[in-house]
Amino acid sequence: MKDFANPNDPALVVSGLSFSYPDKPDVLRDVSLEVQPGERVGLIGPNGAGKTTFFLLVCGVLKPDAGETALFGEPVMRGKFRPEAGMVFQNPDDQLFCPSVRDDIAFGPRNLGLPREEVEARVEEALSLTGGLELVNRPPHHLSGGEKRMVSIAGVLAMRPRLVVYDEPTSNLDIRSRRRLIRFLQASQETMLIASHDLEFILEVCDRVVLMDEGRVVVNGEPRKVMGNVALMEAHGLERPHSLVPHAEPHHV
């Protein structure tokens, strides 16, 4: 495997990416984006903007009609396993399929061909990072929504990816689980791409935001500036987050 050690390589370079499904044309149109190592980039936009399709292209699940993608300096080829990029799916049930949490988290490391002791160590490490060590022997389908989310994240982190793509990570989470996820992501070191309709969550976690609509990147910039622009947000079916609304009583400081 190539040693992805060049610190000068951007984590992700996407240039001129276009994609259509057989029954849905122009899902993505000439999308370009560059993400530096360590950045946390939020993707916002209405339903159908192309966020999930963009993620599947970044991870090499889909083949673009045009354009190129490179992860840490190496082009993404469809179907080629790139353990340096992990994806956390919107529905944790799409990821969790093993009879126990332990087996599920070990699935990725085993596919990397790691020895048994290393696999075990990675399971422990991923679960302690996500705070779910006590779940290790539970069947995934008996977990709560929040627990499933953290276990599905642990399953990706066990491969030690350098870029993690999160698709709607706060969907269906209660307040406590959401807060726990925010704290976890704020403390994480990996480069992140996060798609979410939870704009307050994006504000708390991301240091850059990309607004997508109708398959295009509309704007790319500092979260408070982009999401504070009422006209821009409303033009693309979004709303300014409540915490960016000026208050008589400054309770968001």
């Binding site: 991870c59 396993f81 087996d103 699935f107």
Partner: protein
């Protein structure tokens, strides 16, 4: 790829316009007639009838080919041995294998009947929305529970297919590759199948609860809105006559045929 049955239900053809109950009875009768045929002399007429019907339905040829492919594969797997095992008259001998005339003719009969019956079935389900076909079955006396089960099976088989696709994608992104058959691979596939079953079961329970909460199970008045016109009846009579023709010809050939 989703192989929907009613993908071309929006087309406009005499078969699409045919009143659903008449279409159901007419085409089911024709299928029955096709299944009755044993005499090889009736095969050309059967092929002509089913393909003429398909042409009238204006369904694309690709629809027929893609839907016949998978069941055709299973038929081939089962019937491929017939020419070598069935019959006495040897046509060709290659080493220990002998190609037999009776087996070849049986394969021909099974193959043609299979294509004709499936073509008629695809016309039946392909020329109206699936829900309309189920409503026609209900109107003809199919018990509601069976109608609902058919509808849900059709609806959720694609849902389960989508779930499976998403799970396989998630597995691929964690390095899963289908290679040689090993205990580990079988274990992984068993876990995947088990998860799909558990998820489907849980989803069916949720859907059922949601249905009950909206009054499912209470007696309802049928409101299919079907109206039979004269031309629908004419179509039905033609279909029944063709069916009767096949059955009568078969009986005649059996009694007097050489």
């Amino acid at each position: 790829m989703k192989l929907l049955l009613d993908e071309y239900a929006h087309l406009d053809s005499p078969l699409h316009r045919w009143e659903p109950r008449c279409r159901l009875i007419g085409l089911m009768a024709l299928i029955l007639g096709f299944s009755f045929v044993r005499d090889l002399r009736l095969l050309p007429a059967m092929i002509a009838a089913s393909f003429a019907l398909y042409a009238v339905s204006r369904l694309p040829v690709s629809f027929l080919v893609t839907r016949l492919r998978f069941p055709g594969f299973f038929l081939l797997m089962m019937a491929i041995l017939l020419p070598f095992l069935s019959g006495q008259t040897v046509l060709l001998r290659v080493g220990p294998l002998a190609l037999r005339q009776e087996g070849c003719l049986e394969l021909l009969l099974i193959g043609v009947r299979f294509v004709c019956i499936l073509t008629a079935g695809l016309i039946l389900f392909g020329s109206a929305p699936f829900l309309t076909t189920i409503k026609a079955m209900r109107a003809l006396g199919l018990p509601p529970i069976l109608a609902d089960m058919t509808l849900f099976s059709y609806r959720y088989i694609y849902e389960i297919g989508d779930d499976l696709e998403a799970m396989e994608t998630a597995m691929r992104l964690r390095g899963f590759r289908r290679g040689a058959v090993t205990a580990s691979l079988l274990g992984t596939l068993a876990a995947l199948a088990g998860s799909i079953l558990v998820r489907s079961y849980e989803q069916s329970e949720r859907v059922y609860k949601a249905m009950v909460l909206r009054g499912y199970g209470r007696p309802t008045r049928p409101c299919d809105g079907f109206q039979v016109r004269r031309r629908d009846l004419a179509g039905l009579v033609v279909a029944l006559l063709v069916t009767a023709g096949f059955i009568a010809a078969e009986i005649l050939f059996r009694q007097f045929g050489g």
